[in-house]
C-alpha cells in the first residue's frame, strides 16, 4: 500500500498547495518512527533518552571514546529485537574517514554470543548491517548536499530513525579560512547544514548524533586558571581534559542541541596494569537538570560500563 502512495508523489505534487505534505511523509509521520528513548540507560539519565527529533552532541578530545560509543549505540539500534536491539535503520555520515566496519562487526558479534550457531550469527550480523548505510563526505559543501539528498530518502524510509555524523566539526578550519575576515561567511556552510538538520529532525523525527572534536582550549575554565603545572592526580579523572570543552561551532548549531555528552579519558599515568583505560562521559540535557555521569572502559567486545 505504501508503494502505491509513493508512486503518486512524483507526479501529483504540485506547488499550488504550499504546506501540503506528500503521502510518504504523511505515512512516515502517522506510523511514527520508532522511539530510541530506551537506547541506553547508562549514558542517558532516566527519562532523558533521545526522543524523536533530538540532536545529541558527542564532544571530546582525540581518543576519548566518542566513536567507540557511537559503535556501541549503533549496534544496539541495528540489531534485531530478538537479539536485544531496536531493529531500526541508521545512516552514518563519515566525514573523518575513519569508520571502522571491522570493529563494528566484532562488537555486533560479541553481542550475539548467546546465539548457538555460527551460521545463524553471521546471518544476523548481515541483516543488521543491511540496516546501516555509510556515506563518506570530503568537504562541507558535499556534506550540505548530502543532507539535502537524505531528505528525499528519509520520507520514503520510515524505519530510518538515526542519523550519525562523525564528525560535524571536521571542516571547521577549512571553512574558517575560506570565509575570509567575515565570521558570517566563515560559518555559512555549517549554518546551512544546521538549517537542513533542523528540518530533518523536526519534520521527520529523526534522531541526530554528531561528534565534535574538542580542539579549542577554554582559557576561562577554572582548571587552567589553577596552573598547568598542577599534578593531574589531584583532579578527578573526568576533569583531566576539561580545559578543551569550549564550544566553538556556530551559534545556530549550539541552539539545535538537546543533549550534550562530554567525553574524557583518564590520564596516562592512571592506566592500570591490565591496560584498562577508563573513560567517562558527562551528559547534559535540556530536559533534566544536573549532569549525569558514567564511567566506561573499552574491551574487545565494545563499551563496558563500570558500576
Amino acid at each position: 500500500m505504501r508503494r502505491a502512495y509513493t508512486v503518486v508523489r512524483g507526479e501529483e505534487m504540485s506547488g499550488r498547495v504550499r504546506m501540503a505534505e506528500n503521502c510518504a511523509q504523511l505515512l512516515a509521520r502517522i506510523e511514527g518512527r520508532r522511539s530510541l528513548k530506551d537506547m541506553d540507560q547508562h549514558i542517558f539519565p532516566v527519562n532523558g533518552g533521545p526522543a524523536q527529533g533530538d540532536v545529541i552532541e558527542f564532544h571530546g578530545v582525540e581518543g576519548s571514546g566518542k566513536t567507540e560509543m557511537l559503535y556501541h549505540l549503533l549496534s544496539r539500534c541495528i540489531l534485531p529485537t530478538h537479539c536485544g536491539g531496536l531493529e531500526v535503520e541508521a545512516f552514518f555520515v563519515d566525514t573523518d574517514y575513519h569508520f571502522d566496519m571491522l570493529r563494528l562487526v566484532s562488537i555486533l558479534e560479541a553481542r550475539l554470543t548467546s546465539s548457538p550457531l555460527e551460521s545463524e550469527m553471521e546471518e544476523v550480523v548481515r541483516s543488521s548491517l543491511r540496516r546501516l548505510s555509510v556515506l563518506h563526505c570530503s568537504s562541507s559543501v558535499q556534506l550540505l548536499l548530502t543532507l539535502h539528498y537524505l531528505e528525499g530518502i528519509l520520507c520514503s524510509r520510515p524505519a530510518l530513525c538515526l542519523l550519525v555524523i562523525d564528525s560535524i566539526s571536521s571542516f571547521y578550519w577549512i571553512d574558517r579560512a575560506n570565509g575570509g575576515d567575515s565570521l558570517v561567511r566563515q560559518e555559512a556552510n555549517l549554518r546551512k547544514c544546521t538549517e537542513i538538520l533542523d528540518r530533518l529532525r523536526r519534520d521527520y523525527g529523526v534522531v541526530v548524533f554528531a561528534t565534535t572534536h574538542a580542539v579549542m582550549r577554554n582559557y576561562s575554565s577554572s582548571s587552567t586558571a589553577s596552573g598547568p603545572a598542577e599534578p593531574s592526580r589531584s583532579t578527578p579523572s573526568w576533569k583531566c581534559s576539561s580545559d578543551f570543552d569550549k564550544q566553538y561551532l556556530c551559534r545556530a548549531w549550539q541552539k539545535l542541541l538537546t543533549h550534550r555528552l562530554l567525553f574524557s579519558k583518564s590520564d596516562h599515568s592512571s592506566v592500570s596494569e591490565d591496560h584498562k583505560q577508563l573513560f567517562s562521559v558527562a551528559s547534559n540535557t535540556v530536559r533534566t537538570k544536573g549532569v549525569h555521569r558514567c564511567v566506561f572502559y573499552v574491551t574487545e567486545a565494545g563499551v563496558q560500563f563500570s558500576e
Partner: protein, 331 residues
C-alpha cells in the same frame, strides 16, 4: 563548488542556466538550497523541470549511501595488512599497517621514524612486490640505505633493482607542493610508473616538516592547509585502499610529558599512532628503540615493544648509518 553549466546533467539546458543566473543561482549549492517553487515563478521556468534537475544534481553531487553489508563484503575482500618488516612493530599494529587507514609514527630526532619508513617501503616493495609512493619532505630519504636493507633480504641484484624500482620517490619541500602532489596523485588514481603491481602504501616523511611552521598565532590559513592535507590523505587511503604512513615530531606538554606534535586538530587524523623513543638504559645498544601505542582502535593503548633498528645486523656495526640518521631532524 560546482558552477551550473549546460550539459552538467540532462535537462539543464542553456536557457535554463541563463534564466537561473539572472536570479543569482550560479552553483549547484545555490540551486539545491533555493525553494524550487519560488524559483520557478521568478525565472518563469517549468517547476517540474526544475525539480527534476535538482534531484539529478543532488544524486550526482551528494555522497552515495553504501549499505553496511556491501561495505563489509568489500572490506573483507580488499583489506590487506602490510607487514612493516619489524616483528615487534607488527605486534603493536596487530600484524601490520592496514590499508585504508592512516598510521602515524611520532618521535624526536633520531628515534627511528625514517628508518621504520624505509623498512616498510623495502618490505612492501620486496616481499609483497607492490608499489610504494614515498613522499620525502625533509630530504631524509637515502637510496643507499634502502639498498643496504634490500641487500640483507636478498643477494640477487636484479631483485634488488626491481624492488627499488617499485619505490617511487617524490620530493616536496613545502605544504603547497605537498598538497598539489597529493591532489595529482588522487586525480591520476595513483597510476605512476610502469612497473607491475599496484600502489599499496603511501609514506609521507614527514608531515610535520612542512606543516609545523605554518601553525601558531591567530591565523587560520595554517590550520586550513593542515586539514586539507589531512583530507587528501584520508581520501587517498580510503578511495584507493592504500596504507598511509606519516611521521610527526614530538613536543612536551605542561607536565613535561612527551606528546605528538601538530596539536589537537591533527590528533584526530591518524587512526593509529605510535610513539618512538630511545632506550635510555645503561649498557643498551644505541640502536635499541621503544615503540608505544598511543592510539589504536584494535589494540589496548600504551602497549609497549622494544625493537632494534638494525635487526639483521647483529654484531655488525654501520659506520655511516648513525651519521645519516642525524639528518633526520624535524622541521
Amino acid at each position: 563548488m560546482v558552477l551550473l553549466r549546460e550539459g552538467l546533467c540532462p535537462g539543464l539546458s542553456e536557457d535554463l542556466v541563463k534564466a537561473l543566473r539572472e536570479e543569482d543561482v550560479r552553483t549547484v549549492e545555490d540551486l539545491v538550497l533555493s525553494d524550487p517553487e519560488q524559483l520557478a515563478q521568478k525565472c518563469s521556468v517549468s517547476y517540474k523541470a526544475l525539480v527534476a534537475v535538482r534531484r539529478v544534481l543532488l544524486a550526482q553531487h551528494a555522497a552515495f549511501p553504501v549499505s553496511g553489508a556491501d561495505l563489509y563484503d568489500e572490506l573483507l575482500s580488499s583489506t590487506s595488512i602490510l607487514s612493516t618488516g619489524i616483528a615487534s612493530m607488527d605486534n603493536l599494529l596487530d600484524s601490520g599497517l592496514y590499508t585504508g587507514e592512516i598510521t602515524e609514527l611520532c618521535g624526536g630526532p633520531g628515534t627511528g621514524k625514517t628508518q621504520t619508513c624505509f623498512s616498510v617501503a623495502v618490505n612492501v616493495a620486496h616481499e609483497l612486490k607492490q608499489k610504494v609512493m614515498y613522499i620525502d619532505t625533509n630530504g631524509g630519504l637515502s637510496a643507499a640505505r634502502l639498498l643496504q636493507m634490500l641487500q640483507q633480504k636478498t643477494v640477487n641484484t636484479a631483485e634488488q633493482m626491481n624492488a627499488l624500482q617499485r619505490i617511487s620517490v617524490l620530493r616536496v619541500f613545502d605544504v603547497f607542493a605537498l598538497l598539489s602532489c597529493l591532489q595529482s596523485l588522487r586525480a591520476s588514481g595513483l597510476q605512476k610508473g610502469d612497473v607491475g603491481g599496484s600502489v599499496k602504501a603511501v609514506i609521507v616523511d614527514s608531515v610535520s616538516a612542512v606543516l609545523s611552521h605554518m601553525l601558531g598565532g591567530k591565523q587560520n590559513e595554517g590550520m586550513s592547509l593542515m586539514m586539507q592535507v589531512a583530507t587528501e590523505l584520508k581520501v587517498i587511503a580510503k578511495d584507493f585502499n592504500v596504507a598511509v604512513l606519516v611521521t610527526n615530531h614530538v613536543t612536551r606538554d605542561g607536565n613535561n610529558q612527551v606528546k605528538a606534535g601538530l596539536g589537537q586538530s591533527w590528533s584526530h587524523v591518524p587512526r593509529t599512532r605510535i610513539l618512538l623513543q630511545r632506550v635510555e638504559r645503561p649498557g643498551a645498544s644505541s640502536n635499541l628503540r621503544t615503540a608505544a601505542l598511543l592510539k589504536s582502535s584494535r589494540q589496548p593503548c600504551y602497549m609497549m615493544e622494544e625493537f632494534d633498528l638494525s635487526p639483521q645486523s647483529q654484531g655488525e656495526s654501520w659506520p655511516g648509518f648513525a651519521g645519516k640518521r642525524k639528518l633526520d631532524t624535524d622541521s
